[in-house]
Amino acid sequence: MHLTREEEEMLAGEQGHATQKAMQILVALGRIYDAEKLVRVSSVQVSGVSYKNLGDAGLEFLSELASDGKARVKTTLNPAGMNLTDWESQGIASRFAEKQLKVIDAYEKLGVEISCTCTPYLAGNEPGFGEHIAWGESSAVAYANSVIGARTNREGGPSALAASLTGRTPLYGLHIRGNRIPTVAVNVEAHLRLPEDFAAMGYFVGKAVKDGIPYFRGVGLATLEDLKTLSAALASSGGVAMFHIEGLTPESGLGARSLEALTFTEKELAETGSILNDEGTPDFVSVGCPHCSLTELATLAKLLSGRQAKREFWICCSREVKRQADEAGYSRQIEESGAKFALDTCMVVAPVEELGFKVVATNSAKACHYLRNAGLKVRFMPLEQCVEEATRSA
């Protein structure tokens, strides 16, 4: 692999220990995936923030890097395992909170913005079409490649951080135009009315195409919320890092060749919905996986107006979108109902299973997938029904 003189210096340790480690990671990945060279990136999103996933090992590594490493490009952060300023009200144990705050300290020292959201594209990290970026967080990766047209592989925590500390990533995979063409078509015959229908479709298709690039036909229009939840579902049941929607996403023109096709009808839509539903009455309701947009908060404010939450109800969003909702008056309406904003975190990365909940109602197919892995039961339902479930008398 070709390295510039500056990159050689980084690799030799002339720019410090953390930069050297980062460069070793990038060079090894470049060799494994046959990259010709490194390419400069304009934006990084780092995953691996919740202490629940990092453990002491991750914390030690981050602290080691923070001794002399610094972000060289705009770098934002995935959700943490708790609300960073009000974790007590979430019922988080102090031992967990202490470790989580140490993780955040290390990232802060590294010059990473403590944005703690899985929707950086709604919170000020907004790359443009064709830009090379290095993002972790699988749902944001699928969104950035597909909806924005920026270029990123599915990075893990350390490889995204390595890109931040050097400002570079190896040139392979989805950074190359020829690797962004669709591999399988999906003929959509089901009528997709709600974002949750897009989520169910994503869950079905992700499982079928694994790490392929699906090309959806027959979708028509889609909202930001539809595309956000579709991205998350495709990347959780499968390893999808990019998709195209005919006539809608910016690179769908790449997909004219004849492709093997799947069909998604009303039958698959209904079946996927029932696959995502376990037995049991929810004792915990959570929306905002991926983190809520301002539009979703407006809807929630309207739905919750004049009602009271009768069970634990988390509304997960970034501090930036919450700030916008404060200005618009939505936050007050939501909080008056007794629903809780879960800022900086979400039901997937917080230690929900340790909080004593058993059955979770959510409008996210991705959350269903991961909460099940953590041993919880799940009920998948539209946003409006989640509000019903949260406010229903026992």
């Binding site: 090894a28 060799r31 494994i32 990092l54 453990g55 090992a57 893990g156 925590g157 350390p158």
Partner: protein
């Protein structure tokens, strides 16, 4: 026998081989404090990777697995070297941050468990 592979993290090491014919998951699959393999269904279940030349086709599972290799090294419970058929991101990143000599593009089927193996850069000798 002497096999020439590709060095993912260069170094020298010597130890007894511990061979898995199926892919390994480190996150949830290996105890980061002791090095004991805990993954249900793994042919190495109950054995320790500590001090061994760990031989397997490739890594699988969560990318957090890289941090498990780092933790193993900090706890003195890491393998002394890793040999893969095709190294992927989880193991490559883990080997680099934990500074464990790692070689891939080697036919791992040729190496028997408990054989004495020497690693030097891209060379695997046993």
């Amino acid at each position: 026998m002497k096999l020439k592979g590709r060095a993912i993290f260069e170094g020298k090491a010597e130890g007894k081989a511990l061979v898995s014919s199926s892919p390994l998951s480190f996150y949830g699959g290996v105890n980061p404090d002791t090095g004991e393999v805990m993954e249900r269904g793994s042919e190495l279940l109950g054995q320790s990777v500590k001090g061994r030349v760990l031989v397997f086709p490739y890594g699988k599972g969560s990318t957090v697995g890289s941090y498990v290799l780092y933790r193993l090294a900090k706890n003195g419970a890491a393998p002394c070297a890793i040999v893969n058929t095709k190294c992927e991101t989880i193991v490559a990143v883990g080997a680099i941050i934990a500074e464990i000599p790692c070689v891939d593009k080697v036919d791992v089927g040729k190496i028997r468990s408990d054989a004495r193996v020497r690693i030097d850069g891209a060379t695997v000798e046993f």
